[in-house]
Symmetry: C2
Subunit: 643 residues, 2 copies
């Protein structure tokens, strides 16, 4: 299996990504630390560190927050670990060490960590797997521990989580006397696998496998659990619990379609992919392929987002992709990227990265404002702000990014994703190293028995020229470069000469001299019109504009209101123009189009005999990921095609 | 003020309406009686009559059902009253008398009636006006009492409700010692006004006026009520109570827009209109006009439905009229018709009847299956059944009419509306009688000092010829005939001769000889394409087909699936054809159109470069009110216009 490179080996300095990645250290990590300490004025209370202090008996008081409140500090520590891997920062490390001290003090004698249950419901430990989020929280803490260990070399949190993992292994499993349950929200599987990667302890891998194998087998564990006389419902919306919600409606290996809560689903699929590889489990791997295909070819937005329903943040049915009342959670696209990366690493197929890239460049990035201070949880493809009202069918759709909440899943998730962007750039195996994403960076990679310096320089996605310099080796070796699905005329020059390449599963494989080779990749990816399968009822008769991995959108500030009245002939040419002043530099796309006129309409007429008048207009599109950075207004990805 | 005619004076025998109206007596009333007695197998328990027996101490047991469970028997009795007015039925009257005996026995010493509070929460009487529905239930019982009295001449229920109304008048009001509250769900206002109409007791009218005047004035009554230490929340969704929901967010007279729960709103507006007239209250009347204009010119579907949001069944904002996840409750269109009729009777404006007719012919009728056995609560204008899944953003949208529920508001409301259709047909005043709707009937009407026999014969809405015969009078008098907004070339012949008419507020006023006159009205109302104001984002670039008051829809059974892929050029001619075999006889409309082809698409491609292929097709449209009578399938009112 190919693997990602260590984050402490890579330095990203990219014209497109750095301004976002740098926000993590400059803005998000300090802000979240203040938030978790309840030092932000006007912000909802977090109480996150306070909970740990109370659980550690350093302070007295009551638990406050959601059952998964501890994950805020976990995701923060993970982002800090990734950040410190890239660049040392003594002050930040000291702060993080203090948080880790607190976590270890809040650990129970037997290794258990969860401030909600420790403070508030000690007798209910493991009694409500469906809603309690203990294993989910454990998973995030495990991921944090591994990231922090990798970033700093410090074992304290790692050892702490090993003790917790051991407790989990002793508590859950098929054996008599153990709990035959599995997490209500998948995530611990990923954490356990990462713990296995670092420690080599097979029992963690086996534990993750048990959770996957047990899910949905036999009588549903959650429904049985709810029959306990002292069962306490935590989330009112779970009242009519549909086991599909947690992908426990049937054994995982039997599942044919992506169902239920989208984040739960993709976190599970990510773990499944790794387990399938580790155990040479073809049946499980085939399940991963099947679910990937169903999800990405029938249930995914062009922006790489998933989960169409606002209620329960869930998948609905094939081709049901409404644009204006969807959920499309930022976290779900993060999970989709995690799953895709693993599938690509196993199969060496570049096509998985096409989806990963789509998710990262569009939905994940749209989730965070350019100043790093506000966030979208929900990512509509069409927004008419006036209609996004509280207590209506669109109450989940916000027309402006939200400040950090008391309970925040997406913001820290986006932070850790940006901080670990390096994991997506390369995939490495013994014989070959592969460049997945065109992001400027310098790194060193070990393959083919030696360490090679690699430098990538590019202004992608706005220019499609990538310069890759490899040096420091002594041998000839293979190097792969992803040929994106949108790339035309993909050419490669090596040390100044055009070379032929072998196309292996979507990668251009070159045989190079690792002592000193400069590769120039060029391709064309002009702005173009893209359509959805007409089975997608919401997009029939519509087109959207894309350029490379970027989906473009129209905003009211550039195009006036009533974006749904715009009609475009796809024979019109799309003009690309660089605008240095916008969003730190961006290619905007313009075209001639038409708009249904308000002439002959007045405010007192709602319906009248048909007589459409079209006016000529010029439209201007910007990358979807940057929408809503210039105030509130209408936005639309899909435009009516003039037929 | 013009008034409707007595239902016991009119006999409807109409080619379009009779098959629906007759269902009330033949199917709905007997079925609901069985349902209320819990004698329907596989149906949810109603317990409605059982509750009354327990409250009457005839049986012992617990209350079961919603707080407004009593309204089921109220609406049933009202429908029975209307039905008996039209035609005597001893057996039915005996059954109804038994139910009335039970209600009177369940009445408390002081006049109070409500089985929920009597059985379950006697100490909470009037303590939760927001959610308790006591006044709402009282209102429906008052309406039933008046209908039953009018239909049979029997006073037992009327006297019973007079006692209850007296109690309400003694309990509520501005005076010290009285409760300064108002109903959480408006309806008692209508009931009190009807009681005033029958008894002439001004205190009932004053009571209704108090409820209107008090609403939204000063500190919000409901929010204050919720502060009671022993306040018990009945509906969990009221947890973040928005006072707009019950139109109590500001004094009624200050309200500029139709807000909140649509049924509550239109029931209130109906009462307001009558009160404005009775008290010569210009300010209140202007409020009615303003709210009517806002609602019907910015917030109403072309099918005459209102309330865009599935969550809280509420109005949202101007021009927000999504077609596939709207609520558009059948009951709200019933309330709209009630309000429109009153506004028309006050103003003598025919334009109000245009809206009433639209609501009745489309949404109200769509609410009931052709066999009278299943019902829509929610009335989408576009339906893709696969996507209407439980526990998603579309969970409120059903792709097939539902059987009678344990708690059913729409079915009995549709029943009482059909049973009282006669009230909409004529409006009468001293000097003139007006024909509002073109429905075949025979009646006698008193105006101009004498009783005139009137007979209407027509095959409207499929033929636009109406023959009106007046006889039995001795004088010359005025008779008005509504000129619908869709009518072209409206001509009138009197006794064989073309006559000129005076157009007064949309009515053709004729001076006729009431001893014997035959009027032939003819107009043209061909099928046509209609558009929505482009501010309605959901309908921009779309057209729908209408014919007279009927909105047409495409169904999958006639047009294949993917209705959203159909594109129509409005220059195409619409062909009308009579089909005797369909829905008991209907004009279907066909036209040449095109459809986006699935050629070049396969199941594994979700997005690809734009290259639309159109195929020529023939479309077939049927009246919206009849959709979903031939099994489950896609349906769409709005079609893409070829631009």
């Amino acid at each position: 299996m190919r693997h990602s490179i260590d984050l402490n080996k890579i330095k990203i300095e990219d014209s497109f990504w750095s301004k976002h990645v740098d926000l993590v250290k400059q803005v998000i990590i300090p802000y979240q630390w203040e938030a978790m300490n309840d030092r932000i004025e006007d912000a909802e209370s977090s109480h996150c560190l306070e909970n740990f202090k109370i659980a550690a008996k350093e302070e007295s008081g009551e638990f406050y927050g959601a059952v998964f409140q501890d994950t805020d500090v976990a995701k923060w520590l993970e982002a800090v670990g990734f950040t410190l891997a890239t660049k040392k920062d003594q002050q930040l490390e000291k702060t993080a060490d203090e948080a880790i001290d607190l976590i270890t003090k809040a650990q129970c004698e037997d290794g258990y960590i969860n401030t909600y249950f420790t403070i508030k419901e000690p007798s209910k430990r493991w009694k409500n797997l469906c809603e309690g989020h203990e294993l989910y929280t454990a998973g995030h803490l495990m991921e944090a521990a591994v990231a922090y260990y990798n970033g700093t070399g410090k074992r304290k949190l790692l050892d702490c989580m090993i003790r917790f993992a051991d407790l989990i292994c002793d508590t859950f499993g098929a054996e008599d006397g153990k709990i035959h349950g599995y997490p209500g929200h998948q995530e611990v599987e990923i954490g356990l696998i990462k713990l296995y990667d670092v420690t080599g302890q097979k029992r963690y891998l086996d534990m993750a496998k048990y959770f996957i194998d047990a899910r949905g087998a036999g009588d549903n564990y959650f429904l049985e659990e709810m029959k306990q006389p002292d069962y306490v419902r935590i989330f009112p919306e779970f009242d009519r619990y549909d086991t599909k919600y947690s992908q426990s409606h049937m054994p995982v290996r039997k599942q044919m379609t992506a169902e239920g809560h989208a984040v739960r689903a993709v976190y599970m699929y990510s773990a499944m992919a790794e387990l399938a590889y580790e155990y040479h489990d073809k049946e499980l791997f085939d399940t991963c392929v099947r679910l990937w295909e169903n999800m990405t070819k029938r249930r995914m937005y062009i922006t790489g987002s998933i989960g169409s329903s606002g209620i329960l943040e869930r998948f609905t049915t094939d081709y049901d992709l409404p644009n204006d009342y969807n959920y499309s959670e930022s976290c779900a696209s993060i999970g989709l990227a995690l799953f895709g990366l693993r599938m690509s690493n196993i199969t060496k197929e570049a096509s998985y990265i096409d989806v990963v890239e789509r998710a990262l460049y569009n939905t994940v990035l749209a989730g965070i404002a350019l100043d790093g201070k506000s966030f979208f949880y929900v990512n509509p493809l069409e927004c008419w702000p006036d209609s996004c009202m509280d207590r209506t069918s669109k109450e989940h759709v916000k027309s402006i990014r939200q400040k950090w909440f008391g309970v925040a899943c997406c913001p820290p998730n986006i932070a850790r994703t940006l901080a670990s962007l390096g994991q997506y750039i390369y995939s490495v195996e013994e014989e070959c190293s592969y460049l997945n994403l065109f992001i400027s960076n310098t790194t060193e990679i070990c393959w083919n028995g030696e360490t090679i310096q690699v430098e990538v320089k590019t202004k992608f996605p706005f220019e499609n020229r990538v310069e890759i310099t490899l040096s420091g080796g002594t041998k000839r070796t293979d190097f792969g470069i992803r040929i994106p699905d949108y790339a035309k005329d993909f050419t490669v020059c090596s040390n100044g000469e055009r070379v032929e390449y072998r196309n292996e599963k979507g990668y251009a494989i070159l045989r190079i001299d690792s002592s000193q080779t400069t590769i120039i990749v060029e391709f064309s990816a002009p702005a173009k019109f893209v359509q959805a399968n007409p089975l997608v009822r919401a997009d029939a008769g519509k087109v959207c504009i894309t350029k490379g991995p970027l989906v473009y959108a129209l905003e009211e500030v550039d195009n006036g209101n009533r974006l749904s009245s715009i009609v475009i002939d796809t024979k019109e040419s799309l003009t690309e123009k660089w605008d240095q002043t916008l969003f730190g530099g961006v290619t905007v796309i313009s075209a001639s189009a038409q708009k249904i006129s308000m002439k002959d309409w007045n405010e007192t007429t709602l319906y009248q005999d048909s007589h459409t008048v079209l006016e000529d207009i010029e439209i201007k599109a910007i990358p979807y990921c940057y929408w809503n950075n210039r105030g509130i207004g209408e936005m639309s990805v899909w435009l009516k095609e003039k037929l």
